[in-house]
């Protein structure tokens, strides 16, 4: 029950994009069509899950026993960047089709603040390993949900008769603001 409420909170109530305003760059950049939104969502899920597990073990097995908690941020960035780079090379070599759907989005995620946010949150909230797994799957699930919804809306907006000055990104920002307001209505469910 606790895990379920943790997952629901991460997906809907504390959605990273709409309540914490993290990862906005790909949110506006890669949401022009449905297919790339799905690809980006899957890549984010994979990276966050892998990076969270690695940083979790790194923190509790190496940093904490040696009293190096204060170097958390810099080691996490280092590890996440290398992990993403390595994964990209691996996918590129062994699966060309997977690289087409996933791999091209990976460099975009390396410096994405969502990844670091989840890795940090797992430590600061003192999650157990199981809770870490749930959290680092639920946060990107929420990200993907919002990204896909937003991509569908933007595809429709292309054909809509928006005033010329608002075409493109301005109307997208307004749409995102309205979505954030709609999602804030879910704040009471947990």
């Amino acid at each position: 029950m606790k895990l379920l409420s943790l997952a629901l909170a991460a997906i809907l109530v504390n959605n990273v994009v709409l309540t914490k305003y993290l990862g906005l760059c790909p949110f506006f950049g890669v949401s022009r069509n449905f297919r790339s939104a799905i690809g980006m969502g899957l890549a984010v899920t994979f990276v966050i899950f892998g990076a969270s597990l690695i940083t979790y073990f790194l923190y509790y097995l190496i940093l904490l026993p040696n009293g190096m908690e204060y170097l958390r941020l810099i080691t996490f960035i280092l590890v996440i960047a290398s992990f993403v780079q390595l994964t990209e090379m691996f996918i590129k070599k062994y699966s060309a089709s997977l690289y087409k759907t996933l791999g091209i989005y990976l460099p975009l995620i390396t410096t994405n603040c969502v990844v670091l946010y989840v890795a940090q949150e797992n430590i600061t909230m003192k999650y157990t390993l199981l809770e870490t797994c749930v959290n680092s799957l639920a946060v990107p699930a929420g990200y993907m949900l919002v990204l896909v919804l937003f991509a569908c809306m933007r595809e429709r907006l292309e054909g809509a008769d928006t005033p010329r000055a608002w075409k493109g990104v301005p109307i997208a920002l307004i749409t995102a603001a309205l979505m954030a307001m709609a999602f804030s209505g879910l704040a009471g469910i947990i």
């Binding site: 950049g29 780079q85 070599k93 975009l108």
Partner: protein
Amino acid sequence: MPYMKEEKTVIKVFVIMFIIGAFLGAMLMLANRFLAVKEDKRQEKALEMLPGYNCGACGYPGCSGMIAALLSGETDTLQCAPSTPEQRQAIVDYLNSEEGPDGEKLNIRSI
């Protein structure tokens, strides 16, 4: 003496960080050697000429996505909001003058 203890901690931290960094660096180096894939040589050169922010403002996933789209003929317009017009022109000139693996030149333009 208390400062001796502090000194030891600092050295230990340095060593541990060095090991982590060296390990990751070695992994990437090995991966780069064994997992290398042959690419269109224009891809890498043109990628270096872009700003490398991976901002996604062009609508493609990252800078490499933009170049890949140009090389595959998916689009004929180089879109890159963060770069200056001179930078864009340099990339357009390069891609229009260099022959690809099939011996054909591209014909692209800038925004």
